[in-house]
Symmetry: C2
Subunit: 193 residues, 2 copies
């Protein structure tokens, strides 16, 4: 069984017929590092399950890219604020590694919701999960200092610190790369002592 | 028809029997200004529809309250990060005005999802709506300066500027009250000229 079907089966029951039906709703797409799943200004017309790889979400402010989110293998990718109302995206989603996606269109997703017995439940529970991540991010942006935000990044994504360039992590944490270096040094010293 | 049922009917179909069933799942609760729907450290055991009134969400960091969100009549209130996993809340939700809530328990909500024909769809679409608000807030916290954040607050909630004390709005925008005063003066001058 592939990762996509396993992921869906963690949330709902699928009959063998539904499994086939669902598989056919998705098409495979491969991005090279640097290629885009979604570019700012375009409308997000699909949702992707990440079979393998890593995506970075960013917005551009006064010519500067601000990294706001990462998602990687086993997770779903989409800019819902473009996808749901069908308006141009203010966010870009770019591959940081070679990334294998299983992509479903807006109409395909509506068929999933309607034609799979527990399709609506899947939609609810899958969105609950990303919603939790998002409200935690809001809380952290208000309440946590940069060192705390970096430590939370490390504990949420222990493997990603090796896979993501430091300047993207610095942007996500909300500091300049030099400040992130200092935070990392202090952490290393306090763990060493 | 009451506001609660009208709100649900904007998202899904309800038969007259389902309407009665759903109404019975909710109980009414009235908060005076300053009273809490949820206190930090307690587990959020219910979701509330706000019939009337206004709630403020805040976290406490080094003894300072940081206002992270508002919700008001016609909207839903909950801390999902406590409610879904059943863990203590890191966020408090407090009434700023006399607030009339229609409250549903965790088990009641599961019955709604299961026993109403379009119950799961209601759950999906209702969470999609709050999710959109949340990811917009993340984008704004990364990309927007304080003046932009204040203007977005005004355009999203034109009536709330009069209903919420300025120091809570300043906290939400992420600045000191004096800075918010300056932003407001600049805006007033630029609109006047």
């Amino acid at each position: 069984m592939d990762n996509l079907i396993m992921n869906i089966r963690q949330l709902i029951r699928l009959s063998p017929e539904e499994e086939e039906f669902v598989s056919r709703l998705f098409t495979e797409s491969v991005l090279k590092p640097g290629e885009y799943f979604l570019e700012e200004g375009k409308i997000c017309r699909s949702v992707a399950f990440i079979e393998k790889g890593l995506l970075r979400y960013f917005v551009t402010q006064d010519g500067v890219e601000k990294t706001i989110y990462f998602s990687r293998e086993g997770e779903w990718a989409c800019n819902y604020r473009s996808f749901l109302p069908g308006v141009p995206s203010d966010t870009s989603i770019q591959a940081l590694e070679e990334t294998v996606l299983r992509v479903i269109s807006y109409d395909g997703l509506q068929r999933f919701y309607r034609e799979v017995a527990e399709g609506e439940k899947f939609g609810r529970v899958a969105i609950e999960q990303v919603f939790l991540t998002s409200i935690e991010q809001v809380r952290s942006l208000y309440a946590d200092g940069p060192a705390q935000r970096y430590q939370q990044f490390l504990s949420a994504y222990p493997d990603l610190a090796q896979r993501i360039p430091q300047y993207h992590i610095a942007s996500y944490v909300g500091v300049k790369p030099q400040s992130l270096s200092r935070i990392r040094k202090r952490l290393a010293n306090s763990q060493g002592g």
